[in-house]
Symmetry: C3
């Protein structure tokens, strides 16, 4: 009988252009949406209100963008990051169509880059992953890169796998990634039906801040903080069917550098995004994640805070009702935004993250245009 102790893939198991179909598709439901609200406090209008979503042109209430992202991500873990030392970054994430309760997601990854570390103990694997609906329509695609253990550590190893790996090493490459997803690759699904809609939306969310009301360079300190508990982050990570050991096994983690269970980074994104609701109430959806870094680990007991910066503002081709805001979401632990002047500081000319920063996420959202809605009507 073949060994059935699923140990996941090591660095040697990946090769360029390899296509990996991930197991266990997942039907997403209203139940998942409720759990997500309970776990994150999300109040995003299109995900919170079926009536608002329908007024904005959605079939019904779409599932929260980041819940979809985290479920899709979870599907990739057994094959990609079971033996990961660290999630190093995200890029080129695009949200391609809304997901509704009842959709079943499956996921596939392509290896687009490989780089062995000089230590000989690990390497970096770059994958482009795509989640599909049950009818094979793509719903989200993203690139991530992870540092993965080698099965056989050191350069002198001579197992067959290692030999094969060395032979293939000329294939190793670091992929070129876009700094951000350009506007012609953004797919906005919400639609304001009339000039009255902007007025109605303002009353619905209770905020009159629309696209015109945000300025490049503006910073918003979000008022709330959230202390994370072990049960919460484990519930979330299991909801995403992400089975990476560091989030669940306190005994095994005792011997790790941090000595504790780590909060899954995607859940940190979700919590910080939910904290960022206040001041960004009229965001209709996430269009892209341009770049993301988990700067530091989060463990239970840490309190998360967040601030947002407006990085850029873009009109969208052919649309006067909605436009895009490129935002930087900075997640902090155990220090309030008012105490962090900037995320990256220079000490003796060397730039480094402020010790309170845990997340640096560059993403693009869809925002209604006050002006556009008015113009269209006239």
């Amino acid at each position: 009988m073949a060994d059935k102790e699923r140990r996941g893939n090591f660095f040697e198991d990946f090769h360029l252009d390899q296509v990996i179909r991930h197991g266990t598709p997942r039907t997403v439901t209203e139940g998942d949406a409720s759990m997500y609200v309970a776990l994150t406090g999300s109040r995003a209008i299109t995900h919170s209100s079926a009536t608002a979503a329908q007024e904005l042109g959605f079939t019904s209430r779409p599932i929260d963008d980041l819940l979809v992202f985290n479920i899709a991500f979870g599907k990739t873990v057994p094959d990609i990051s079971m033996n990961a030392i660290a999630n190093l970054g995200y890029a080129e994430a695009r949200f391609l169509c809304p997901v509704y309760a009842g959709n079943t997601l499956h996921c596939e990854s392509v290896v687009i880059g490989l780089k062995e570390n000089s230590s000989g103990k690990s390497g970096v694997v770059y994958v482009r992953s795509t989640a599909y609906r049950e009818d094979d329509h793509p719903v989200i695609t993203w690139v991530r890169w992870v540092m993965v253990h080698k099965r056989v550590q050191g350069k002198t190893a001579s197992t067959p796998e290692d030999t094969a790996r060395k032979a293939a090493s000329k294939e190793h490459r670091v992929p070129a990634l876009s700094a951000f997803v350009p506007t012609d690759k953004l797919l906005p699904h919400a639609r304001l039906r009339s000039s009255e809609a902007i007025q109605e939306l303002g009353e619905t969310t209770g905020s009159l801040d629309f696209w015109e009301d945000y300025a490049v360079g503006e910073r918003i300190n979000h008022p709330s903080g959230a202390t994370v508990e072990e049960a919460e982050h484990m519930l979330a990570t299991r909801l995403y069917q992400n089975n990476a050991r560091p989030h669940f096994d306190a005994l095994a983690m005792r011997d790790s550098r941090v000595g504790r269970r780590l909060v899954y980074g995607g859940h940190v994104i979700s919590v910080c995004r939910a904290l960022a609701y206040d001041g960004l109430e009229n965001v209709l959806s996430i269009l892209a994640i341009n770049a993301g870094t988990h700067v530091a680990a989060i463990v239970a007991g840490d309190t998360l805070y967040a601030y947002s910066e407006v990085v850029d503002k873009w009109k969208l081709p052919g649309r006067t009702d909605v436009a895009a805001l490129r935002l930087r979401l900075v997640g902090l632990k155990n220090t309030s935004p008012s105490k962090v002047e900037r995320a990256i500081e220079e000490t003796d000319g060397v730039p480094a993250y402020h010790p309170g920063v845990v997340l640096d996420l560059d993403y693009t959202v869809l925002m209604p245009r006050a002006q556009g809605a008015r113009l269209r009507h006239s």
Copy 2:
């Protein structure tokens, strides 16, 4: 750009007869109902069983009354109690129609009373809040009053807001509130279809205690206790989309009087009500909350217990199948009901709550009548 750091309203921001439309409507789902069961242990028959609910004349299984209340309440927090020092009380809460999975709730409040405290640092705001269905049918209405910080503390301040407030101070008033919701304002939605229904219901719940079997003055000590965890109360409070800081931010709460995150009072009500299921199994719905006081704070680690007293019994106009019980639900912490003879004790002639009491809730429920069902049949 306008400041987008949502700080909520201070005492000076409220004026009499002010109407506040609260943001972010919320679609309530089966998922919310499941979370609520997991968070409270609710076994209320009409909310637990779709078949029982339909036999009782409901379209389907209605969402738990207190889940609806807590969600509606949560909508009011960003505008009413973001800067609250304390939730002082509830009154005149009426449950006007069942809410079903799929309904989307929005909420509005009217300021019906204002009273500045003599300290000059805070004031009491009275609001009547109403939650509506997506078709604007009201589903629940209630009065609450909260102590809210003043933006500018002290009587000598001279900011424009403060000046305006002083000018308006002649409007300040304390509203007259009913001691209880009278029977002609109760809206019972359940209906026993036949005399067999009472027999069937007794078999369904496993209890043969109906309206006739409760006596005014009777007390029921509920057998179960529930120790509250941080993750639980935060999950609950986020499910209700209630973003009041004291429930989530352990770091900020270190400097508070209690020094800890506080359990949201509405969740304490929900847990105590679920504990009170045993001995009140045939309650069909909550009709009204007559009065409610959160006597003391609850923090994680506290164990909740409850006892009920039958305050009054009322027949309902035109109904022989069901009637009303007015109950007092006393929530206790870290002491079992058998050790608390009465909730309020006199020491040297001064009445004060027993130190174990945390909740004193006066509410009215709908109970089947054994006799009525029999009479109607004959």
Copy 3:
């Protein structure tokens, strides 16, 4: 007025052939399924994917077998095990038909055995419980036996109940129970429609291990561990509407032997079963629980691990597409499977469980046959 302090049944309250209809039916929903995933990390293919479930002949995605079992079990607690000292064992559990979101379950038990302990303080009660759908179709049936406190302890008591009990003591008997559920009593509901289905399923789950790929005596060490939190096990147990005090009341449990809240054993089964997904990805459903023992208590902070042994392999009458595997699921606490050579060890000739073992579950699952699917096609 009759006493309404529900204290549950004591040993004296049971008599042979007694039929107990348990209260509070429960509608099972998509929300419960989501909670269950979040609480256990379940990835079982038929429960995770509606499309996979439909391809396998189910109407839609069935509710997880063990979620159904735990909900059904929870219904029996107020009447059977409110005063239980220990859940001693399970046997003859059969899963009779799939449960879908929307089904409402009610439950009934028959007392099939009674045995007073020689201490005179307690006795063992054997019940056969059956959960039914709203149309009275049975969905699951099982036997369990629990040690229950006597109301009146000691053999010299002379209350009327005790006298009655003694009079009836000649009825006391220990039921004969099957060692395992035979194949002709297994009801497999999944169906592979074609030889391509096995290929498709392998791609869907990401595993090519089918019935033929498991050998009797084979052991699989599952790679993951799960540290349990108080909030998690209480959420789970409340989701199952199981109100047994030892799981919830930390204050009352301080005086118990363990001194802590105990994790509900059915939740331990669920978590261990979810850990056992890796290496058993193509299991389609649970057909039977042959026997089960909770060897030791679990409290919050314990880390659960699991290994599986293939006890037996059976073809099923008239079926070439699927067959049965009898498995032994051994749950461990705070020790990884690689450190436990066997669950039961002999010390000085006396067999005893390894100190790390917490669960010993003998159950039967449905597995696709690679060969059968191929044969049918040719």
